[in-house]
Symmetry: C2
Subunit: 503 residues, 2 copies
């Protein structure tokens, strides 16, 4: 396309969408650039032309163009306008399969990666069941800006000097307030600040794992953790995740056989299954940790999103043997790009973990730590948490409702009761890759279950993960209905014999 | 001390010091708390009492108290005043030796750690030759605040979403400008954003090193790097750093013998020695990397502080075989607590290093990346660099001058020509620990050479590192004179036979 009117006509904006207009406009143009419809050095319409022909606010246009520029898609020449860049960012993964050389490998790592690197293309109107992270329009930018400003006013240069590797002392205090609900009793001395949960897993592996050690994990699980264990040269032992946690006989059998240093567990609303350990299994696994002398890495990424009052106890809250390393991420409730989280560390491990943190990045950004400390102290956190809780709960009720009404026979799911993910077990041999492509063609995306297994030979191929962190409430029912139609069409086309439910 | 007047009398402020008054006041009180002179729950004087008896501005008092509070030393009760905290941050390392259990180990890691964790105590009037990092009063807080604000205005939520693991595309572009002077030709596709140089070293080790691999390093060197290599289970092979770089025959002998995967090098104004590779040795080591198939990790932490126009070529600039991984830190010129840096990665390695970055912390803070991108694009970086260059150069000239005039016979140093460190070779058997204690008693601190060696059995015990990044110009001549007096007294007391210069 080389003519301005043509370009303007092909832009589709939805004033009723939850997605801010400037983002929609930005996404429209970005897609045309990525698809080569707009060529390098092509001059975009002027702000006025956009404004008048699209009937939108001038500020919206300016914001969209700024966003495109700061993402490297366009450049501006003083006085003469905005042009398509010569070197645009790496082209996005197209779901039909022809990825750039590395994306298949990376695809194994975790879903956020697909989104953050645009390997699953999220357009202005995509129904996104693939991402388990909140969308930028939910971020408390203005409040955080206030505390950032206060910190710069208060601490000046001190906010930018080297920080205590264990973390800024006051934030370790204020985190105790956040923990209050969870029944975990601890002190600032046991808290280690980290640059996100992923770093926490990395640091623990550095401190505890040598080449050839064994790590027991649930299967399927968060593969960002598996990637770390593998990079330390550790062997992964999978134990299948059941709806009330792993079978503890099989679990104990593997513990006896492999004597792991570490067990990696997501006991509440697990990723990807949404399943949770029963409180009985929680107590038993704590006892096993003492009996067989291993540490438990408890990855608590959304236990507080407990929509149906299951009131599960964090392992750390019943950790009578001081063998649980508790990791908390703020990425699902707050803002993932901030890269901030914390760990509660057994007293035996505080020193070696402090040293591992220091060799990893010396310290987490002092500015971010100080701003977030104030964010908690001034009560913003509690308010924002309630806000997010209600939004997520609304979506949870909507998506479970829609699944109840539209899910075809032979497809099973169990209500997780909380968290951000729902796990569908499809009939044996179901053509998932075809479903991915068909859904993508209707602009619906989700994560295939296979990416959450430690290796192809333990992979189950008949499940998918539906997340509702990034999907807008208005999109849910329609999206689930369409998806369910495709599933039942594809199921039928495979004939009865293919429709035995997976056990 | 339990009486307010006594407290106020014992506070010493120096209006002519380069250290901001509020920091001096904060440090005074902090020391009294650390030394147990002020006990938990002791009520501090009111703002007015401080103001009137110390004859200082009210704002100064408020800032000092805020700083104390946000560092966890005091707490405030609405209406009733400011009190000493019950749980104060870990007590500081006292140079006479009785450290808390872990500091000796950590002490091996690097000097910034000592300062950032208060293990070397820096009071209001300390002459600090120990730290190679700039002091907070030199940080461009106001300018950075401007760009932070612009970014929040421009990008809103997008600044806080998951970021491309390789780094925000525009900052990879703007970094090319910074590189301009260094004669390194590269593209945004070869640049990997990292959360500080330390993380870069960690990521490269993850990508390249397995247990039992060999790494060749200079000796002495930056021990923060050694700690990473060791944590990967790699063996360290030391080659002594000479004034024009390592002896390349010995170097090649070790390469042949151990076949290292990686060579870690700080070719310009090395830490801790300040020595630099001659351009001849730079070319030779590049050729060796191709001949023996190893990668070179070039740690460029201050090559641009070239005060005497030595014009050394970065290894990356002559890297004809694409075997140099170039790491650049901003901590010495900009603000260490920001945790930001970048690498230039050989094309063969970009994918595995991208994956290692992702497993390490997914991405570097998007807000920090976007703000620093703008900081460069709007010309702040160039201006700030010139500012820092001139301050450091002034100090460099002053300290070398002072050493020329006061250094006693038998003590050698060679002008590095740039960087932030000067290496003193003291007579064989010189009682350095005594010097450390005597200097500390006069409030002069520096780093003993021994902490920069990979292990005790390669340690030379007769050298010390003097850094001038944190020492104020007014303190230098007097500090060096005092230090030199102590050195010559201690040298003499040991008798002639001890004064043979180290070869």
């Amino acid at each position: 396309m080389s003519d301005i009117p043509g370009l303007l006509d092909s832009i589709k904006l939805d004033k009723n969408s939850k997605i801010p207009m400037y983002m929609q406009l930005c996404n429209n143009i970005k897609e045309m650039i990525q698809q080569g419809i707009l060529l390098p050095d092509f001059k975009l319409p002027s702000v006025r032309q956009f404004r008048d022909s699209l009937k939108i606010n001038q500020v919206t246009v300016v914001s969209a163009l700024k966003l495109l520029e700061n993402e490297g898609y366009v450049y501006t020449k003083q006085g003469s306008g905005t042009f398509v860049s010569r070197s645009i960012p790496p082209a996005s993964y197209n779901v039909s399969g022809d990825a750039n050389p590395i994306s298949d490998e990376l695809y194994q790592q975790d879903d956020t990666f697909l989104i953050s690197n645009g390997q699953i293309k999220i357009g202005a109107n995509t129904v996104n069941f693939a991402s388990a992270t909140p969308t930028p329009d939910l971020f408390p930018v203005e409040d955080f800006r206030k505390v950032l400003d206060e910190v710069l006013e208060r601490d000046r240069g001190n906010a930018f000097g080297y920080q205590d590797s264990q973390g800024f002392y006051p934030i370790r205090e204020s985190i105790l307030r956040i923990l209050h609900k969870s029944n975990i009793a601890t002190t600032p001395e046991s808290i280690q600040i980290i640059s996100g949960a992923q770093q926490g897993i990395d640091i623990i592996s550095k401190a505890l794992l040598a080449q050839g050690d064994y790590v027991v994990t649930e299967s399927p699980t968060y593969t960002g953790a598996l990637a770390v264990f593998k990079s330390r040269g550790a062997h992964i032992v999978d134990v299948e995740m059941l709806e009330d946690g792993p079978d503890l006989d099989i679990f104990e059998y593997n513990i006896k056989k492999y004597r792991p240093k570490l067990v990696y567990s997501i006991p509440s609303f697990q990723n990807p299954t949404g399943y949770s350990y029963s409180n009985r299994k929680r107590k038993e696994i704590i006892n096993l940790s003492a009996k067989y002398d291993f540490y438990i890495l408890e990855d608590d990424y959304v236990s507080d999103l407990d929509f149906e009052n299951r009131n599960y106890l964090p392992l750390k809250a019943i950790d009578t043997h001081d063998r649980v390393i508790f990791i908390k991420s703020f990425s699902k409730i707050f803002m993932p790009g901030l890269r901030l989280g914390f760990m509660i560390v057994p007293s035996k491990l505080t020193n070696i973990i402090l040293q591992a943190k220091h060799t990893t990045d010396i310290s987490t950004s002092g500015l971010i730590q100080r701003a977030f400390d104030l964010y908690i102290r001034e009560g913003y956190w509690d308010r924002h948490f309630k806000f997010m809780f209600n939004i997520y709960k609304e979506r949870y009720l909507k998506i479970t409702q829609a699944l109840d009404s539209y899910l075809p026979a032979g497809v099973r799911f169990s209500r997780p009761g909380g968290g951000l993910n729902i796990w569908l077990n499809l009939p044996y041999g179901f053509p998932i890759e075809t479903l991915i492509r068909q859904a993508a063609s209707e602009d619906i995306v989700f994560a295939p279950g296979r990416i959450f297994y430690s290796s192809p030979h333990v992979q189950k191929l008949d499940n998918i993960r539906l997340s509702f962190a990034s999907v807008y409430i208005e999109q849910i029912e329609d999206g689930i209905r369409k998806l369910c139609d495709m599933i039942s069409r594809l199921g039928n086309s495979k004939g009865e014999n293919r429709r035995i439910p997976l056990l």
